[in-house]
Symmetry: C2
Subunit: 461 residues, 2 copies
């Protein structure tokens, strides 16, 4: 940055109130890290806009002065997406947190980017509606769109990209565009919705989102099913999906992870590969699905299965899965989590999970595997002592081996966490010549490379 | 074009066999029009590549000589997409028509672009699978991806863009890229799949597609339901969708169109607004859905409803909807069809259909309205005598009024037919500043503007 911070602050205060611009050390520190193990780096200035016009003014100024800009939601990203390694301005969207409109008949909502998913679901519940994407963290919807977040429900309702009907975006030069409209489908123009979702702040800042919502299902049933091996569990899921049973969630938890859960939650689940499943539908349909699913699972060697429809019992059943990350942290005090995130074709999933377990054992790293098996996406959770350079190195090598395994089978290095800084080094390898197409698009929309520079594509390469 | 056709032909024959290059008048005429009312224009040369390498060589040559290139599937487009108004080379993909791979466990298929959807479904049926997108015509899958086609099943299974896992694309300069991979979800890089689907040959030529397929549903039920007004029918659909009944198709046919069908098919359906509905699921679930749906429809004034689960009876019931286009053509000999294609929010649909009917009457044009009402997408079919300039003018004005109505309500000018030449004039109006973003992307990927020039974006503007 060639312009002095003081001068930028002064220029920002021409259109922002004093309390919307901060150079306070603590504020900068809060915006210099995310929930990952990646090294912190502080922005020079943090701004808190209240309107799209203010965001536009910020971008015009930054573009003119060639100052890097990073949009920031809640900082719950897992690959260093929001860490400003080139410093500059961080735009915090916490003051743009209004639910603007609920269009009940259209099953659409319009929100500002700082609204969190739990805030939205609390409001939607009053209308008998829900927002489907559940990445675990109570992330902002702007952030979830920026990383194309997903989570446990993607197998039924799709990922964040599938929910976005329209984005209002402020471009690098301050222009304001809409990437979509209110129509459920369109063959008009290029599909900018899809391009901007998952762009991680590198193509523009989102200032408004129109999202799909769903009617709360009439009936829900959950199941916990125990299998002798990971291969059996995955084979069962493959069969269930093929016959078209509408699974709403299906999560694999490996035996080491069940052990962590038992220890943390004082449960005594069999310490074997386990599926946590949820079905949404009508009562009669689900009753038939349950019979059918049970048969398929037994064909695949299922040794124990428990179905629950009652609300409390379902919640308790899912607690084991939901508490998994805490269980690992609790069981390894002082250590940080490194979480892999590859996604492969379902037919490669059993091999990939098997490979991950072997590599964990070989590297002598504590951790386990859990997976959104309906999508072929799984996470290996590795507990590492960040002060032990040798252990960090082994964990990095493990992560790299998992990624390479997925890329060798035409999978992806990240199913849902996004690229950020952690997966940047794999972009050229994963996308091949397409990586140059991505760079060309980035340059055409952000010629000064001020928007979250160094994330997804590296222009300087 | 500054280079003589003979010289280009000679250059093409360096890497194509003689019978893969044609300047024959009849062949050129077959590639100078589509199924629409748009004026024909002939390519100078038609080529029939057999491999991606040949497509790449064609593009390298065209780019070097700055010759326009139009990719061509079956010519079933409805807005002049494949008509080469700047002449040049048309690439016909009919020799690239192989189904390359069926990955049963992954619910994926890999096909060449010249495979048609019926060809694919015939093969898939042997495996208990089906491909969901049904635009009516037996289009090629390459063409369907190029226009982001959809049709009656989009309400349940999504549009073409939702089915594309990966495209192999030859870019303007001959580079070959892949836009995706085999993973069901990815947050890696920019979403090129979404960008290239619907790009209508303006960003590249597709040489291979990896597509999602589905298990054939266990049970299907169809219904025909008659309502006093279009408003009642749409209100019923809105209620059914809100409670989450998984409708697989829901089509509205207005009373004038039922009249055409009765006349053509010798049926005696009540000449009132009618819904044709299809449900996919398990038997018990559908039985409950049928009861529930019947109640909702009766609440909305449904005056007659017929449910059918037997295969033959279902097919017969749907015949009325399927034969609609033929019925109109049959009833108006010598006339051509102009078909509007706007899509609006569901809450605006009743008003939009009402407006279309009023405008048809006011313009004294014969025609009717049918709609994919679950998506807010509807077609007004207008029968026009292309030799009657005044009638064509009235039809154009009608089309424009319908589009303007949709754009005023933040809808789209085309829900599924695409832009081609017919909707090009609305692109700047519909997309606003985003239109300039689309132009920037086009220029960054096709700087010589050789790929289907003049479609979607006009660079010269």
């Amino acid at each position: 940055m060639t312009v002095a911070v003081d001068n930028i602050v002064e220029a920002l205060k021409q259109f922002l109130d004093g309390d919307q611009v901060s150079v306070n050390e603590t504020v900068r520190e809060l915006h210099g890290q995310d929930e990952s193990y990646h090294v912190a780096s502080l922005p020079d200035i943090v701004v808190f806009p209240k309107t799209k016009e203010q965001v536009s003014e910020i971008m015009k100024l930054a573009n003119e002065l060639v100052v890097p800009v990073v949009p920031f939601g809640r900082g719950s990203s897992l690959e260093g997406h929001v860490i400003p390694y080139q410093n500059g301005i961080t735009i915090d969207f916490s003051l743009m947190d209004k639910i603007l409109e609920i269009r009940q008949d259209d099953l659409l909502v319009k929100v500002q980017p700082g609204v969190t998913r739990m805030q939205l679901n609390k409001e939607l519940k009053k209308h008998g509606l829900f927002f489907s994407v559940d990445p675990g963290a109570d992330a902002t919807l702007g952030g979830m769109a920026a990383t194309n977040a997903s989570g446990t429900t993607a197998v039924r309702y799709g990922v964040m990209r599938d929910q976005v009907r329209d984005l209002e975006v402020v471009l690098a030069d301050g222009r304001i565009i809409h990437t979509g409209n209110l129509a459920a489908k369109s063959s008009s123009g290029y599909h900018l919705n899809g391009l901007f979702v998952g762009s991680e702040g590198t193509l523009g800042c989102f200032t408004e989102l129109t999202l799909k919502v769903y009617g709360i299902p009439e009936f829900e049933t959950a199941a916990r099913a125990v299998f002798p091996t990971v291969e059996d569990a995955i084979a069962a899921v493959t069969s269930i999906l093929q016959v078209g049973v509408p699974i709403a969630r299906v999560e694999l938890v490996d035996e080491e992870s069940i052990r962590q859960v038992n220890h943390y939650s004082d449960t005594d689940y069999p310490e074997k590969p386990t599926l946590f499943i949820e079905f949404h539908g009508n009562e009669a349909g689900l009753a038939q699905d349950v019979i059918f699913t049970r048969e398929i699972m037994e064909d695949h060697g299922c040794v124990e299965v428990q179905f629950e429809s009652d609300n409390t019992a379902r919640t308790k059943l899912w607690d084991a899965r939901h508490n998994l990350a805490y269980a690992y942290t609790h069981g390894h005090p002082g250590k940080k989590q490194m979480v892999t995130d590859v996604c492969v074709a379902i037919s490669d999933l059993a091999d990939a999970v098997h490979f991950a377990r072997e590599q964990l054992n070989a590297a002598n790293l504590p951790g386990g595997v859990l997976g959104h098996v309906g999508d072929g996406n799984f996470h290996a959770i590795v507990m590492i002592d960040m002060k032990d350079a040798e252990e960090v190195k082994r964990a990095d090598a493990f992560n790299e081996a998992i990624v390479q395994f997925a890329l060798d089978r035409n999978g992806t290095c990240t199913g849902e966490h996004g690229v950020g800084i952690g997966k940047q080094k794999y972009q050229a390898k994963e996308h091949g010549e397409s990586y140059n197409v991505m760079k060309a698009i980035k340059i055409s929309l952000d010629p000064n490379n001020i928007l979250n520079p160094g994330k997804i594509v590296r222009i300087e390469e």
